[in-house]
């Protein structure tokens, strides 16, 4: 456990100038909230420090809450979690993108393994990944409709089949 705490301390120190805030939801896990503009720098920092490996890119959809009368409408957002693992330690770079600006730079230039994860993120959540060297579909069918992203909460299946279950 000592090495895990040490590893998390080290990553907290190097991400300090970039992170908006830190959070420790589990003893072995550190979440760092990063602005989308700082993502590439943050990932480069992780790579330069050789801090673990990129284990997964997780997308989370936060749809807009139902509009309340008299209050301004809030836009939904996509949260992207870049999950790095080193031994038992987990460090997550979290960044939130509003639907209207769901754009991120690719990190596949720094970490080639990220290519498939970014591709999946683009298909499933509709996050445009600038500089991703691939086009077309990875997982979805060739005739899948454009602009329909299955892991967004707004997608409830064709003809509402998923909803009826």
């Amino acid at each position: 456990m000592a090495s895990t705490i040490g590893a998390l301390g080290a990553v907290e120190a190097v991400l300090e100038p970039l992170a908006v805030s830190f959070n420790r939801p589990q003893p072995e896990r550190l979440d760092a909230v990063i602005r989308p503009d700082d993502l590439l720098t943050a990932v480069r920092t992780m790579v330069n420090e050789s801090w673990g490996f990129l284990s997964a890119i997780v997308g989370l959809d936060h749809p807009a809450p139902a509009p309340v009368e008299g209050e301004a409408e809030v836009e939904g957002s996509i949260e992207v979690l870049y999950t790095f693992c080193k031994g038992a330690a987990i460090a997550i770079l979290r960044t939130t993108l509003p639907y209207s600006q769901a754009v991120l730079p690719t990190i596949s230039g720094l970490l080639p393994a990220a290519m498939l994860y970014e591709w999946e993120l683009r298909e499933m959540f509709g996050v445009e990944v600038i500089g991703l060297p691939v086009t077309g579909h990875l997982i979805l069918a060739d005739d899948w409709p454009d602009g329909l992203y299955p892991l967004r909460k707004s997608f409830v299946g064709f003809n509402g089949e998923e909803k009826s279950q």
């Binding site: 895990t4 939801p25 589990q26 072995e28 896990r29 490996f53 990129l54 284990s55 997964a56 997780v58 997308g59 989370l60 979690l81 999950t83 693992c85 031994g87 038992a88 987990i90 970490l111 080639p112 393994a113 290519m115 498939l116 994860y117 691939v134 077309g136 579909h137 990875l138 997982i139 979805l140 069918a141 299955p150 892991l151 909460k153 997608f155 998923e162 909803k163 279950q165």
Partner: protein
């Protein structure tokens, strides 16, 4: 001939010479030498992550187990560990030990399956038939414990369904003795049979640095000397009380992957024997709430193919907000695409098989076949006997 690159493109798949599962690869070749590669997945995509959001926590246990027919138990284990973490519940020690036994039996069956498939791709079909015949022993053991050969359904949220009685333990010991002996023979074969060694040795060699750079995990990385195994790095279940030794090899080629996987089956056999001899007493289940408190949990387990990561988020209801599954096969694809360059086209089937790819894990889809014929039920023994008689 591709117009833009002015190179020959050989499409392989989705129906495949190399694999029994669908994926499409494009290899760009110059003569016999591969100069580039690309992959297209998704032919068996089922939308399980989306489906999980519409099902209850308990229903999802069965859904997650059906992500993969080879490593079904490890998926259910990763999911239950994540949900238990969110609920603040820990399964009783005996249940954790039984989960570990099931997980290690599953690893033996998966590695023996791979050994057969890889031998077949190498043109060594006798090894394929022998290893698959012997693999029945471990599948029979799984069936004796759970009643099922493939989807054992041993896990519950908060524990396990099946106990291991002393009589069952004796049977498992007996089966393990046979498996141990057979795998020692296979280790000898893959190390001594010159006609076979010529096929994987020196092919697809990957250094430890490159494996790390490409994000390789599991036996694929361990065959390149990367001593990374989540059972040791972050022990879960009873892996701190019944630890395993990380098996690595330094050759980094496809041959090293054979040696690592066979040695891992010995480690699994050793650890199962140890647990059976010191099985903790007590209950099999702990009480779980129906609604899981809001929060996020990450659980990581070592599947036969490498580290499996589950990200489970709850919004406090009886259904998950999100279940993200990152399977080991997905991590290892980039090694195939990168190592292919410079190899001969004929090496591609072996290289593809070398990472032990699992498409169900990648794609997560399901196909349901309803029998329209005779619906009478046959026992497994009757079916087996029928099969033997039919081909006699």
């Amino acid at each position: 001939m591709s117009a833009d690159t002015n190179k020959f493109v050989i499409p392989i798949g989705p129906q495949h010479p190399a694999l029994k599962e669908p994926a499409n690869f494009e290899f760009w070749v110059d003569g016999e030498t591969v100069t580039g590669a690309s992959v297209r997945l998704g032919y068996v995509h089922r939308g399980i992550e989306k489906g999980a959001e519409a099902r209850t926590w308990v229903q999802n246990l069965y859904l997650m187990e059906r992500i993969c027919g080879i490593c079904s138990h490890v998926h259910a284990t990763a999911y239950t560990l994540g949900v238990e973490k969110l609920a603040g519940v820990e399964a009783p020690p005996r249940a954790q030990a039984i989960r570990q036994i099931m997980g290690e039996l599953e690893r033996i069956h998966s590695h023996m399956l791979w050994l057969g498939v890889a031998a077949h791709e190498g043109g060594f079909d006798s090894l394929f038939m022998y290893s698959w015949r012997d693999r029945e022993t471990v599948m029979d053991l799984l069936e004796k414990i759970s009643g099922n050969k493939v989807h054992y359904s041993a896990n519950l949220l908060g524990g396990v369904k099946f106990d291991i009685t002393p009589e069952l333990a004796a049977e498992i010991h007996k089966g393990l003795e046979f498996l141990d002996e057979r795998n020692r023979f296979y280790l000898k074969v893959v190390n001594q049979d010159e006609t076979f060694i010529g096929r994987p040795r020196g092919i697809g060699t990957m250094t430890a640095e490159r494996a790390n750079f490409l994000g390789a995990i599991g036996p694929t990385a361990r065959a390149s000397g990367v001593a990374h195994d989540i059972r040791v790095d972050a022990p879960y279940l009873k892996y701190s009380e019944f630890p395993i030794k990380v098996e690595t090899h330094t050759s980094g080629d496809l041959h090293g992957r054979f040696i690592v996987r066979i040695n891992e089956t010995f480690e699994s056999i050793r650890v199962i024997r140890e647990i059976l001899d010191h099985l903790p007493p007590g209950e099999l289940t702990a009480r779980m709430p129906r609604r899981i408190p809001a929060g996020e949990a990450i659980s990581r387990v070592e599947a036969p193919r490498g580290e499996l990561l589950y990200f489970v988020a709850s919004n406090g209801s009886d259904k998950p907000e999100r279940v993200k599954v990152r399977t080991p096969s997905l991590c290892n694809w980039s090694t195939v695409l990168s190592l292919a360059i410079g190899l001969k086209l004929a090496d591609m089937p072996m290289l593809l098989t070398g990472i032990d790819p699992c498409f169900s894990c990648n794609d997560r889809s399901v196909s349901v076949k309803r029998g329209t014929q005779d619906s009478s039920m046959w026992s497994w023994e009757k079916l087996r006997h029928y099969g033997i008689e039919y081909y006699r």
